[in-house]
Amino acid sequence: MYTCPALKDTPAMRKSSGRDQWVIALAGQPNVGKSTVFNLLTGLNQHVGNWPGKTIEQKIGTFTRDGECYTLVDLPGTYSLTANSEEERITRDYILRERPDLVIAVVDAAVLERNLYLLTELLLLPAPVILALNMMDVAAQEGIQVEPKVLEAALGLPVVPMSASKNVGVRELVETVTRFIAGDLPYAPHTPTILPNHQAVLEEIHRLLGDHTPHPYPAEWVALKLLEGDEELHRIMQAQLPPQDWEAVHAQLYAHEDAILDIAGARYEWITRMVRAAVIRPRVGQVGLTSRLDRVLTHPAWGTLALLGILGVVFWLTYTVGAPLQEWLDTVLGDFAAWVGATLLSTAPAWLAALVSDGILGGAVMVMTFVPILVIFFAVLGFLEDTGYLARAAYITDRFMHLLGLHGKSFMPLLLGFGCNVPAIMGARIIETRRARLLTSLLAPFVPCAGRMVVVTLLAGLFFGRAATLVALGLVGLNLLLLAGFGIVLNRLLLPGEPAAFIMELPLYHLPNPRTIGLYVWRNVIAFIQKAGTIILVAAVVIWALSYFPADGDIAASYLGQVGQALEPVGRWMGLPWPVLIALLTSFVAKENTLAALGVLYADMLHELPLLLSPAAALAFIVAQMLFIPCVATVATLKQETGSWKWTLFSLAVMTALTLIIGVAIYQLGALVGLG
């Protein structure tokens, strides 16, 4: 049987080389189960990357049928094709430039009218479209009946009923695709027309554009999009047209600024006519599952309680399953690394054995120990997203997040940062706008992760005895205060652009698909190991080398130790001796390293340290531990997800500056009131 070639080259390259595969694009609004359809069709034959030059995920896969190979491109979920967001730009540019052989529009049968809006836009582009009428089961659950055959006749294009999350209708979809491409199915789509009162102005703009529209944009489509208020095409055409022509176009657009309302209105009227015979709505008074659940889940009091309950379960899972598994992995793999150093490399020079077992394997072990937490985190996030609950959690928390210029969608990633900052930053992917995604990623390191809490709890106990809990809670509060302050500053002063409008669909509830969640977890964990893991490994080796050389493992005399000693004056402002500074520096690899380093530097740490540090200095030290630059895994992920060294270094600089300022302030204030 013919198998598809490796997915190294993009469909664009294949096309120019004569294209030996059919290229099919999958389009749809958010929350229609598009990923599930994509996963069912391609299985593990998929390649996940980013769209060229964008931070938006691109998924390409293949499937074969009767020896024929099909490439499937998953386009980002969009409500329309006016360039309000990167997703919309990517989707329409892909179809215009690459001209796929077929576009499958996935729609949710339970929300058919709104979903068909995207279809009215897709039909204006130069590629044939068939309709995958997904979530027939959800529609039935809400009491809505849809007749695919009637819809097919009304629209004039093939319609395939599906319940992808129950694996129903996939074979029929593949069948329809192959028959359509073979030319065996009729295709005569009806398209909505623009209202008569805007027809004249549309033609006038079309005439003014002449042959100035750049490839691959069709002139008539550009005219319509300009009338809809598309800002990207506005920019493009302003640059393309001679100034006097542009002024004429601009005058027309200005006089018809409200055209979008008529255009969208006409599309919805057309849709209403199309679905009239095909959809039977529930009788008035019949209440669907979603409304019944939402009586509790979006209620201000009960909804908040439900959210707290769900979060409780998440943390319980993280701490009772994730943390022990993490420790177990650390012990087993750590023992293995030590064994390699002691046995296999027993004849090698000491530095080489240490490099392999402590540096390289130590770094690799650290990468692996993140896996259990990441699996739990992404399984939970995938589950909540796939059932439709995540949007409710965002609704409930929106009012708090609003203060930071964020929306409710940022709440879940930030909150789960208490477990670990790495998935918090990766989880920011669920947020639509780049601005909010960046802001969330930059705030995540302020959330005290489990690693930091372990160190802080232990140190607080060591220094403050009975007051330890109070101190630890105060420190968590301080971090959250700083998070809020930093958020407000970033939002108001530093990030370009306005906070995005809060418009969020609350999808109908439905049973999650284990396969979709499984692949979601798999993709994210692999992405972490491949990308962030590489940076972590390199950084771990570098830091190991700095703490090993030139003194053959004597950390006090190592380069790192020398840096610590050079920083002694800084330490003095905080009342900290240089070995404590070194311990702080080693926490860059992993937060728990602080304890290990203190153990190496002070033979009897538990008794020595409290005598060495005054209460003010101890407090300054713990605060510094909470605020100091995040661990290397977090930094690597931050770079990976923001795609920017500038913002990553900015984040490090801010954290370092805050550590110094607040550390010094606490010690000096403490000294003033006699605690120094």
Partner: protein, 81 residues
């Protein structure tokens, strides 16, 4: 005219005007907020976003955004939601 913020849960309004920038109006229109479309308010508390139901879907709107949607009251009858 009223804004969506003025409606109590269960009340339905017919959309008369959309205000705000082009981006906001475009996004709302694509979601089905078109002139004459009926919108039912599902949740509207003193703080935080509101939830409305239109064209068979529920949409959460920030208070700032909801203020840009002008409606006339269709009925005071309380619908089940």
């Amino acid at each position: 005219m009223l804004t969506l913020l003025n409606l109590e849960p269960g009340q339905t309004g017919l959309i008369r005007e959309l205000h705000g920038g082009r981006g906001l109006v475009g996004r709302l229109a694509a979601l089905g907020f078109t002139l004459g479309a009926p919108v039912t308010v599902v949740r509207n508390h003193n703080k935080g976003p509101i939830i409305v139901s239109l064209r068979g879907t529920q949409v959460a709107l920030g208070r700032g955004e909801a203020e840009h949607v002008l409606v006339t009251l269709l009925t005071g009858a309380t619908e089940a939601h």
